[in-house]
């Protein structure tokens, strides 16, 4: 979802946005280096910061190297600001989907331990979804 539903809903949801100023569960980051300073001031604790793999496919080798370095920086930023790092495929078709072992390989290349990543992600997702469901129940 791009906005919080106005009325109560029966399903768990997450609000995804690209604007740093907007309140959202997940913020999609296009270029971390450009928004780093802005994020330090405006980001709330517990927000999910998402980086998609899709744009890296169209980059040349050097840019992919830089993309990996920004991935590492974003992970370190998430760690220090208590946000949740999210690596997603950004798929728009079935051929753009990424299998688990491939995501793990990308994480390992960026010096991120996949096991702790998935563990933290599971915990964060559970907490977030639970929060949004209880909101819906209360609103009823």
């Amino acid at each position: 979802m791009t906005t919080t539903p106005l009325a109560a809903v029966n399903y768990p949801y997450l609000v995804v946005s690209e604007n740093i100023g907007e309140p959202a569960d997940i913020l999609t980051i296009r270029d971390f280096n450009k928004v780093k300073k802005q994020m330090k001031k405006k980001i709330k604790k517990g927000t999910g910061l998402e980086l998609t793999v899709n744009p890296a496919r169209k980059m040349d080798g050097r840019s992919v190297g830089k993309w990996f370095s920004s991935l590492r920086d974003l992970y370190a930023f998430c760690h220090s600001s208590r946000c949740q790092f999210i690596l997603s495929s950004g798929a728009t078709s079935q051929y753009e989907m990424i299998s688990g072992p491939c995501l793990d390989a990308i994480l390992k290349t960026a010096d991120i331990e996949p096991q702790s990543y998935w563990r933290n992600m599971g915990k964060w997702l559970e907490e977030r979804l639970l929060r949004n469901v209880s909101y819906a129940k209360e609103a009823r």
Binding site: V53, A56, R57, G61, Y95, E96, I98, S99, P101, A105
Partner: protein, 104 residues
């Protein structure tokens, strides 16, 4: 000293296009860009089987992770659906996968 054969892994890939040769070249090119020519030679990426939508490639086990990264970062995109140390087991898995897709 014993001369042991290098361990390898077979990886099955689903792709959109009819011809699968360009996608193997794209993997090798991306691998070379990211990890260098020496690692590319060590990886020994080869096309084993070519299908309309599914293909199988093989590579050395020591470079498997880097190969997976290269597969993920090629354009046009392809999806890895299975991995195995033996081609027979991989073919069995692909069969199971296509049966599961048909039943959906």
């Amino acid at each position: 000293m014993l001369k042991r054969r290098d361990k390898r892994r077979y990886v099955s890939i689903v792709h959109a296009g009819e011809s699968s040769d360009p996608f193997v070249n794209a993997i090798i090119k991306r691998f070379s860009e990211l990890f260098g020519s020496i690692a590319t030679e060590r990886a020994a990426i080869r096309l084993v089987q070519q299908g309309a939508n599914e293909s199988i490639i093989k590579c050395r086990l020591e470079q498997l992770e880097n190969v997976l990264v290269a597969i993920t970062l090629i354009d046009p995109p392809v999806v890895t659906i299975g991995m195995s140390g033996s081609i027979r087991q991989l073919r069995r898995r692909i069969q199971q996968y296509s049966q599961w897709q048909k039943s959906k």
